[in-house]
């Protein structure tokens, strides 16, 4: 039976996680705009607050005040549910992310598996958004997203399995503990797994160069073309939260998580995570979008065989 204290505890944790997600997403949106601007020799947002830090807050307020427009031919229920199904898994993923030695909501013994499962739920929301909008661009965007995420899931999971094999555990804290003093990335097979992971993860969160589900030049905005106001903001928050999560997972699995000298664990964890986020932003503002056939070919013909090969090599190394 749940006591009152348990309920309060759950509420407190929920508020902390949601607050962190909101602040982190807004910070990442601002940061992405700044990084893109400086790569293009611009300033980016400068007017609202110091160097435009409050720009995202202003945007959020604007989106909150905007009218919510429902397309006439939309499948209402599916259309309404879609943004929640995109956001909820990204919030749930925070449960197993270890921010510090004891700074984890719940150290599940199947943590990595839990994350793999959640990353696939997101695609259902995107597909629902595409279908529910009753718009050909949205539908194509949703379809592409489903195809892409299903393809890239396989190399992603295979590279996560390699890490779990090394640590002989699926628990995120045990994976971090197994890397004490010697990060996973320093093993050659793990470095390969990291490259596969980061490519697949970029595809998983629909970022450039794998952003065909929301390719502006072809599909307007893809699956969220018909969304406005706070529903659109939820997709946006979901996207940036996912960006944070994939970077956090990469930091945990390959870069020793919260471990590091002098500074407290949470600081090290955030430094590593935001470092990876910066690399992803750097990649985003450098490369053009892949063609849809190249994209599928790359997942099935390159990444999947490479990860299977890597899996076999890692298994052989462990048994040797």
């Amino acid at each position: 039976m749940l006591s009152i204290l348990d309920i309060i505890w759950v509420l407190v944790i929920g508020i902390i996680v949601l607050g962190f997600i909101a602040v982190s997403a807004m910070f990442l949106i601002w940061w992405e705009r700044k990084v893109s601007a400086h790569i293009q020799s611009r300033y980016g947002p400068m007017r609202v607050g110091w160097h435009g830090v409050l720009q995202s807050v202003a945007d959020a307020v604007k989106l909150l005040l905007k009218e919510n427009i429902v397309p006439a031919g939309a499948d209402k229920l599916v259309w309404w549910l879609a943004p929640f199904i995109v956001v909820v898994p990204s919030v749930m993923a925070f449960v197993v992310i270890p921010f510090g030695k004891n700074l984890i909501v719940k150290d599940l013994n199947v943590g990595a598996l839990y994350l793999m499962a959640l990353s696939s739920v997101c695609v259902i929301g995107i597909f629902m958004a595409g279908w529910g909008s009753n718009n050909k661009y949205s539908l194509i965007g949703g379809m592409r997203s489903a195809a892409q995420i299903i393809s890239y899931e396989i190399p992603l999971i295979l590279s996560m399995i390699i890490v779990s094999m090394q640590a002989s555990s699926l628990s995120m804290q045990k994976i971090v503990a197994a890397q004490a003093g010697y990060w996973n990335i320093l093993h050659p097979n793990m470095a390969l797994a990291f490259i596969v992971y980061i490519i697949s993860a970029t595809a998983e969160v629909n970022r450039v160069p794998f952003d065909i589900p929301e390719a502006e030049s072809e599909l307007v905005a893809g699956f969220h073309t018909e969304y406005s106001g706070m529903k659109f903001a939820m997709f946006f928050i979901g996207e940036y939260t996912n960006l944070f999560i994939i970077s956090a997972i990469a930091a945990t699995l390959f870069f020793g998580g919260w471990q590091g000298p002098v500074l407290p664990g949470a600081v090290w964890f955030l430094i590593k995570t935001y470092g990876i986020v910066f690399v992803l932003m750097w990649v985003r503002w450098t490369f053009p979008r892949l063609r849809v056939d190249q994209l599928m070919g790359f997942a099935w013909k390159v990444l999947t065989p490479v990860s299977f090969f890597n899996l076999a090599v890692t298994g052989w190394l462990l048994l040797k």
Partner: protein, 145 residues
């Protein structure tokens, strides 16, 4: 097989080169000018709003005659042999900023300033008396050299 390997190496190298270019630009200073607070300095020969140095004007009417759009209109009063300006009407609505008035002026009394922020909300404000110097403040804080 060799072609594939070559493709892989060349492709990877090109990706790294691309990343190097963007990170180089990331650390370079930006080129944006924060417009209302920072302003682009205009060149000496920029033809902006027409300005007048009334103390130099000898009321020769050359500028009025040469003006292709007839946007200038002068009235004067004559005391003995000395002419003094009464009004110097300049209709900016008609002006084509050709600079002929500046070229023809024998004493360089009429000049093209480098004032370029000349949009107004009221059409009446386009018709200005150049003798009324205060009116320039409605467009800009810069004074005529």
């Amino acid at each position: 097989m060799i072609k594939l390997a070559k493709n892989f190496v060349v492709g990877t190298w090109s990706l790294i080169k691309g990343l190097a270019v963007t990170i180089k630009y990331f650390f370079r200073p930006t080129v944006t000018l924060q417009y209302p607070t920072e302003k682009q300095p205009m060149s000496e020969c920029y033809r902006g709003l027409v300005g007048l140095r009334p103390e130099k004007c000898i009321v020769c009417y050359q500028c009025v005659k040469i003006c292709p759009t007839a946007c200038l209109a002068i009235t004067h009063k004559q005391e003995d042999k000395k002419k003094t300006l009464e009004t110097f009407k300049y209709n900016m609505e008609l002006c084509c900023f050709c600079g002929l008035c500046q070229q023809v002026c024998p004493t360089s009394a009429i000049i093209m300033t480098n004032i370029y922020e000349i949009s107004v909300y009221d059409r009446k404000k386009l018709d200005i008396n150049l003798l009324d110097m205060k009116k320039y403040d409605e467009w800009t804080n810069t004074t005529i050299k």
